[in-house]
């Protein structure tokens, strides 16, 4: 028999082991004064953090994750009204004066932010900044503090710490800066570190490094960590317990494994079902959560998730469910849902609750064998050089930088090629070169069989009909001053579609992307991010193109919204027989959507093949490292994985390593090769070849390839 019992207290099950919590937050609420009325960003949340544990907080942007921890840290602006209590090591934090809280903050309570550049002072060297916090809180002498700072920089993995401690924050890369932030956070041996999206702005490979550093920091200091993130993969691998936040409330909390395996609240279930997974095949059905999170100004009376919840019943709209224990699961698993006992009793999973969209059948054309389908986009030995200049006023050319250094691939009809790689590897330059339809520095680009270098202006204009683009940022890609109808009409006007047909087509397009025809006379500002991305897709489809270039089309969207757009792209491809060039750094999304994958590193393609080959049999050491850096949203799998950590950052394209461009970070090179064999990597740049791979269509640029399964 399953019955809800009132939770004994905060979402930390204090009876479980009797350990005194390090931080106890009780009934914390935060209200901001704002133009549109008071905004209650956090609405009565309670939780405990025990010494040495990692508490993960997940939720979409605006759910109150940051505000709730900033409130604890005393970092909110004066417009915020905070109620409730937050006891840290027996001491009430709320209501402390500025001076008192700063004494605690930075010593026993430390914070790591998403953007370390804004948290570091630009005019002091990082060594001095770390030494300064040590001196303030520990009263060490100047040179002792400086020595300690260097030790800390070494601990967080900054190479040449003594020398680098004299550098200024802007001289570090994003990942290195985040290491400095962590060094600063652990400088005074804190008992609790709050990390607010510490890896969100970073590449997966760097994210893996930073998580490793945080883990080290935790082992060295024994500190507890509150890890705030929207990435369910990060939580799965890193946290002991987790809380899911929605609309300023905790809606589910418990031990990580339990929450992932038996989510008892529809929002959590939807969230887990909406993320594409690296370990699932291409046919994984995603369950998007419809709608968007509610506005915090006018929250509905009942359950805040009710407007989007497929399990909604009448009482959901009348009373907001409290966060109660789910008795059938282990102690401390709490969910805020009127129906969580039912979910637990019937063992419902996300596919029972949400409508799963099956990946639609491929169009007839795409079912032909690859060789029989026509090539729609062909890139051969593409090189793009940027001049490097020196001097301010009189610019002089001082050499050149190859952002793309000989890239070849082709896309056939009805096919999706995923182009992946770290930021800065040349993905965007490649697609911009294609979209310009101009003659590249060297190499050729052919769209639908026509070479761009040999095109007349007229042909180029005509071919633009067939080659369209969807951008990453749905905020920036629509002209804010035009109504949606004008935005969608623009390509058709440009290419001479008659007015009468345009209006009909606009309505069709809106319907096609899941919006309503009435939306045509609204302005972009009236739409949410996901809806804007749909408008961007509709515009790209207006001229019935054959090839769509998608530049990170979902990476600016919240997880629950992403799934809807991915499903849309899947469906459009099947219905309209489109071919996609899909650029992304999120390999899970690529796994879901791409037929073939090309992995780029420093301006070159290092591995290319079908998605199955590349993901299941990655052969290039870089592909292996990239794949192993991606956290799986599955605590059991994630914790048992072996991780290949890449060392350091992407080298500068202005000065690439000799021979194999990857050798400075290659673990094969570093650990498995003797000096003789290394010679070859040092001297000779490997060509893409299919000689040593399993499949025929699978090519790798490495002298010593060795397939390995890393997922």
């Amino acid at each position: 028999m399953v019955a809800p019992v009132p939770a004994p207290g905060p979402a930390g099950s204090r009876e479980s082991d009797g350990v005194e919590p390090l931080l106890r937050v009780e009934d914390l609420s935060v209200t901001f004064r704002s133009g549109a009325g008071p905004v209650t960003a956090v609405r009565g949340i309670s939780y405990d953090v025990r010494p040495g544990e990692v508490l993960g907080i997940v939720g979409e942007s605006g759910s109150g994750k940051s505000v709730s921890s900033l409130a604890v840290m005393g970092l909110l602006p004066g417009t915020a009204t905070i109620t409730g209590s937050a006891t840290f090591q027996g001491r009430q934090l709320l209501g402390l004066g500025d001076k008192q809280i700063s004494r605690i903050r930075g010593s026993r309570l430390a914070m790591v932010f998403q953007d370390p550049l804004s948290a570091l002072t630009p005019v002091y060297t990082v060594g001095d900044q770390i030494a300064e916090t040590i001196r303030v809180h520990q009263g060490l002498r100047r040179d002792a503090a400086r020595e300690r700072a260097i030790e800390l920089l070494d601990l967080v993995g900054i190479p040449n710490p003594r020398q680098r401690s004299k550098s200024f924050p802007h001289e570090f890369s994003g990942g290195m800066r985040q290491r400095v932030m962590i060094a600063m956070a652990i400088a005074n041996d804190p008992a609790l570190i709050i990390a607010d999206e510490p890896t969100t702005a970073l590449d997966v490979t760097i994210q893996a490094q930073i998580l490793e550093v945080l883990q080290t920091a935790r082992e060295v200091t024994g500190a507890a960590i509150i890890m705030i993130t929207h990435d369910l993969g990060v939580i799965a691998g890193f946290a002991d317990r987790m809380m899911v936040m929605y609309a300023g409330r905790v809606v589910e909390s418990g031990v990580v494994e339990t929450v992932y395996q038996q989510p008892r609240m529809p929002y959590t279930m939807g969230l887990l079902g909406s993320i594409p997974r690296l370990d699932a095949g291409e046919r994984q059905a995603l369950t998007p959560i419809e709608g968007v999170p509610p506005s915090m100004v006018s929250l509905p009376v009942g359950c805040p998730f009710a407007p989007r919840c497929p399990m909604r019943i009448d009482s959901c709209e009348q009373t907001e469910p409290a966060l109660l224990g789910v008795v059938s699961d282990d102690a401390g698993h709490l969910a805020a849902c009127h129906r969580s006992e039912e979910i637990a009793r019937d063992g419902l999973t996300n596919t029972d609750v949400f409508v799963a969209t099956t990946v639609p059948e491929a169009p007839p054309a795409a079912r032909l064998p690859r060789e029989q389908r026509p090539v729609v986009l062909e890139v051969r030995d593409l090189v793009k050089e940027y001049p490097l200049t020196t001097g301010g006023l009189l610019r002089r050319k001082a050499g050149s930088l190859q952002a793309v250094a000989g890239v070849s691939f082709d896309i056939r009809e009805g096919e999706t090629l995923g182009l992946v790689g770290e930021s800065g590897c040349g993905k965007t330059t490649t697609i911009m070169e294609i979209l310009e339809l101009a003659k590249p520095t060297s190499g050729t680009i052919a769209v639908l069989g026509k070479d761009t270098a040999a095109m007349s202006g007229k042909e180029r204009f005509a071919i633009r009909r067939d080659l369209q683009v969807v951008f990453q940022d749905p905020m920036a890609s629509l002209d804010p001053r035009l109504p949606v109808s004008d935005i969608l009409a623009e390509p058709m006007i440009t290419h001479g579609v008659p007015a009468a047909e345009r209006d009909r087509r606009i309505r069709d397009l809106l319907r096609l992307v899941g919006l309503r025809p009435e939306h045509a006379d609204r302005y972009p500002a009236k739409f949410s991010g996901g809806q804007r991305q749909r408008i961007g897709i509709a515009r790209a489809l207006a001229l019935e193109p054959k090839v769509l270039v998608l530049d990170e089309p979902v990476s600016a969207l919240d997880v629950s919204i992403q799934a809807g757009v991915i499903n849309l792209l899947d469906r459009l491809k099947a219905e309209l027989g489109l071919s996609y060039l899909f650029v992304a750094h999120d390999l899970s999304v690529v796994r879901h959507i791409a037929d073939r994958v090309a992995v780029m590193y420093l301006g070159r393609i290092v591995e290319i093949g079908t998605a199955d080959q590349v993901f299941e049999n990655p052969t290039h050491p870089y592909t292996q490292a990239l794949l192993s850096a991606i956290p799986l949203p599955d605590p059991v799998k994630e914790r048992s994985r072996r991780r290949i950590l890449l060392t350091g950052d992407l080298p500068s394209a202005a000065n690439p390593p000799s021979g194999c461009r990857f050798r400075t970070r290659c673990s094969t090179f570093a650990h498995q090769l003797d000096d003789d064999r290394r010679r070859r990597c040092l001297d000779e740049s490997p060509e893409l070849t299919g000689a040593e791979t399993t499949g025929e269509d699978h090519e790798v640029a490495c002298h010593y390839p060795a397939p390995a399964a890393v997922i």
Partner: protein, 301 residues
């Protein structure tokens, strides 16, 4: 279609906020001085064009019974030495100055927008040419050149004069427009238009200039008063509007000598000029604050 359409529920995320234009209007109306400025400008325009209909004296009419007479019920602002009516001429001058100010500002802003946007968008040779021309225009002594030109064109039309005035006003704004264009050019909606094959000039008209409308509106408003003042300056030295036509500038030049003895021949015209320029500037300031989302205006919510 068998696939489930993942329709998005209608979310009025921002529908609480009124449309931008209404918001700007509301923010503008909440500033008392700016509203007063608008009222004064409108009254002056009305006065300039409706006044002559009801006033018994025309600007080119002479009253041989009242030379040099101080303000009286017959001649509200008094008369000149020749018996010309000061009020009638002031209205006439106001008309001309308004036309010069409005047209000149419009022209100079348009020029600035075109030059800056083309330079910023097309870069390369276009940019170099525009930059050289702007720099050259900035170092040339505008006043002197207009003076020389206008005496050469003594009986040329006053339209040409406006072109000259505007021709020395646009450079700074053009530089600002160029900078803004360069950053807008990299925005994704501009790129999207480019990749769909929309020609450059159309992109400038449809996407770039509308997105700096607030800058241009403010520039034009502020330009009105500076063109009016420039005209006054030139006319004062006899280079601007030529007799028998009058403008506030020529009237001030005529009245200046008598400012101490026959005050009404100077003070009224000067007063109207100050009122006009002040009012226009108040409108400009008000617009700037209303269009700038960061300015703190009471009642903007």
């Amino acid at each position: 279609m068998t696939v489930v359409t993942d329709t998005v529920t209608d979310t009025d995320v921002v529908s609480r906020s009124v449309s931008r234009n209404r918001l700007v209007l509301r923010r503008f109306l909440s500033q008392r001085l700016a509203v007063a400025g608008v009222v004064v400008v409108l009254l002056l325009i009305a006065l300039a064009y409706l006044g002559p209909i009801f006033y018994p004296w025309k600007y080119d009419q002479l009253d041989f019974q009242a030379f040099q007479s101080p303000p009286s019920p017959a001649h509200w602002f008094g008369t000149y030495q020749t018996g010309g009516d000061v009020f009638a001429r002031t209205l006439r001058g106001l008309q001309k100055s308004l036309v010069i100010g409005l047209l000149g500002a419009l022209f100079s802003t348009a020029l600035a927008a075109a030059a800056g946007a083309f330079a910023g968008y097309f870069r390369g040779a276009t940019d170099t040419v525009v930059r050289v021309v702007t720099d050259l225009m900035l170092v040339l002594p505008g006043f002197l050149i207009i003076a020389i030109f206008s005496s050469a064109l003594r009986d040329g039309s006053w339209l040409l004069f406006i072109v000259l005035l505007a021709g020395f006003q646009w450079m700074i704004t053009a530089r600002v427009v160029r900078g803004l264009t360069q950053s807008l050019r990299e925005r994704e909606f501009v790129q999207a238009a480019r990749f769909m094959g929309v020609p450059g000039w159309k992109i400038i008209l449809r996407h770039i200039l509308p997105n700096m409308a607030s800058l241009l509106i403010i520039d034009a408003t502020v330009g009105v008063s500076s063109i009016i003042l420039a005209e006054v300056g030139l006319s004062f030295f006899g280079f601007g509007v030529q007799p028998p036509d009058v403008s506030l500038g020529t009237l001030i030049a005529d009245g200046a000598g008598a400012a101490l003895t026959n005050w009404w021949q100077f003070d009224f015209v000067a007063g109207v000029l100050v009122l006009l320029v002040l009012a226009v500037n108040l409108v400009g300031d008000g617009l700037r604050d209303a269009l700038d989302p960061n300015s703190e205006i009471e009642g903007a919510k």
